[in-house]
């Protein structure tokens, strides 16, 4: 089953090959849910993929597997990391951490906030981790906060007490500040008003133009149709179908 990296699709940056993933709930009589059954996807720079399907169809599981948040049962996830192909399913934990710092970004639906840490510091953290100087990182985040219309009086506060939309904007700034070659988006606009949704659409377009590959779950049809040029449809108990 292991494939040689030479056979990976030319020009691609991420390649998921026949992913299988199920969940066993040991505390509920050991029920097993198979969720992914051989899902595959090849992603090229500049693509924006929409993962579509009903809730429970596996799109979220697929995306979390791409981030190595979920551990797949079978299959390979090849990611081009700093000029080298890495298979996330066999990487050591510290390798995954490194890939997440430099290559693979993720905008989750919810911001995990830390009491006492300001919005600015929360958002600048990944950029600083990637080796950018603190002042440069903070300047970058400030400009994104401005773009996203996050009131400046909030910047120095901990996002603990922020509204859903404010938290989501901090989360977006956090991931968009870094130049990840691959960015995973989990409903990035779910809590945003129209104006800010528009800003996010612009930001995604910019990323695409810069050659970033994006894979997202968008519930907002309008946003999806404007930013995505490809789609992967999931349906319950069936193999995902790819359209493009």
């Amino acid at each position: 089953m292991p494939r040689s990296t030479a056979t990976l699709p030319a020009g691609s940056i991420l390649h998921a090959h026949k992913l299988y993933k199920g969940f066993t709930l040991h505390n509920q009589g050991g029920i097993h849910f198979p969720v992914l059954q051989g899902a595959s996807l090849a992603v090229h720079p500049g693509d924006c993929w929409a993962l579509t399907g009903a809730s429970g169809s596996g799109k979220s599981t697929f995306m979390r597997s791409l981030y190595a948040n979920y551990r797949t049962d079978q299959g390979e996830i090849w990611v081009q990391h700093q000029g080298e192909w890495k298979n996330l399913t066999t990487c050591e934990p510290h390798e995954i951490l490194e890939i997440r710092i430099y290559t693979l970004g993720y905008v989750s639906q919810f911001l995990r906030v830390i009491p006492r840490v300001s919005a600015l510091d929360v958002a600048a953290e990944p950029l600083i981790d990637s080796g950018v100087e603190v002042t440069v990182a903070q300047a970058k985040v400030r400009s994104l906060f401005e773009l996203l219309n996050l009131p400046s009086r909030l910047w120095s506060l901990s996002p603990t007490t922020f509204s859903g939309g404010e938290k989501q904007r901090v989360n977006i700034a956090r991931a968009f500040a870094v130049n990840y070659p691959i960015l995973l988006l989990d409903e990035p606009t779910s809590s945003l008003d129209a104006a800010n949704r528009e800003v996010v659409v612009q930001l995604i377009q910019e990323k695409k133009e810069q050659g970033c590959a994006l894979i997202g779950i968008f519930h907002d049809e309008e946003v999806k149709s404007r930013v995505c040029n490809r789609a992967m449809a999931f349906s319950l108990n069936e193999e995902a179908t790819i359209s493009g």
């Binding site: 969940f23 066993t24 709930l25 040991h26 505390n27 979390r64 190595a68 948040n69 979920y70 551990r71 934990p93 510290h94 995954i96 951490l97 995990r112 830390i114 009491p115 006492r116 840490v117």
Partner: protein, 256 residues
């Protein structure tokens, strides 16, 4: 990247009870490794076996020191080991009174580690003590107070300062937030997080608090009955737990 610490097949039994059963893991520089499990799962024994305070029955503990030498912790002399514990390693204990000298002032508690490594200049030791008090957010004017007059959270922060003053590379923490109020815990956690990042520390953090590891740990080991039942990145283990024990541990947590 070279590992900082390699633990290989570490075992320790107390009579017929296998407290640690062939535990293996590697720790990389700058990483926080969380060890979770219920009371009696062997996590504290593991920590003290790594520091060789409880000698293990079998297995290897291999540490790469700042001079890039490979040290086998079970094989080096006791003198080297104690030297290591006072310089490159640090131990933060659950009860501050086990990690502090309660009869000497806060400043002396921090200064002791510097005296241990041969510093003999009062002024500089005192300056460094007050700098570290500030780092751990203890008001400078408390430098000449006894730790007994401090609150629980302050004592833990003082313990942290005492350990960090010698710029250790590996810190072992045994339930550092245990017994603290939630709000006090948050402050300590945030402080630990900042310090670990700015000093590029490697930490082995033993706790039964899933919230603590979620916030601090890069990686997680789940122990039960002396065995590692599951390990991986923290978010992997917490979001996609495989082992029945891990699943029940996580589903039993009040705040996920």
């Amino acid at each position: 990247m070279n590992t900082l610490l390699d633990v290989q097949n570490l075992s320790k039994a107390y009579g017929s009870v296998q407290a640690c059963d062939r535990i293996s893991f590697s720790l990389y520089p700058g990483q926080i490794l969380g060890i979770i499990g219920e009371s009696g799962s062997g996590k504290t024994t593991l920590l003290s076996a790594i520091a060789h305070q409880t000698p293990s029955d079998s297995g290897q503990i291999i540490y790469r020191n700042s001079a890039n030498q490979i040290l086998h912790i079970n094989q080096i002399s006791e003198s080297e080991r104690r030297q290591l514990m006072r310089s490159e390693w640090g131990f933060v204990r659950q009860h501050a009174r086990d990690g502090l000298r309660m009869k000497v002032t806060a400043g002396a508690n921090i200064g002791e580690r510097l005296l241990d490594i041969g510093q003999r200049h009062y002024g500089r030791i005192r300056a460094e003590s007050s700098e570290w008090l500030e780092q751990v957010e203890i008001p400078g004017h408390r430098i000449d107070d006894l730790p007994g007059t401090f609150s629980g959270g302050m004592q833990q922060r003082l313990q942290l300062a005492r350990v960090l003053v010698t710029r250790p590379r590996l810190v072992l923490m045994d339930e550092p937030t245990g017994g603290l109020d939630v709000s006090v815990q948050a402050k300590l956690l945030d402080l630990m997080r900042q310090i670990v990042r700015s000093l590029n520390l490697s930490v082995i953090l033993v706790t039964h608090d899933i919230g603590v590891v979620r916030l601090l740990a890069h990686r997680l080991i789940v122990m039960r009955h002396g065995k590692v039942v599951e390990q991986g990145l923290t978010d992997q283990v917490l979001d996609d737990p495989h082992h029945p024990y891990t699943q029940s541990l996580i589903s039993a947590t009040l705040v996920p």
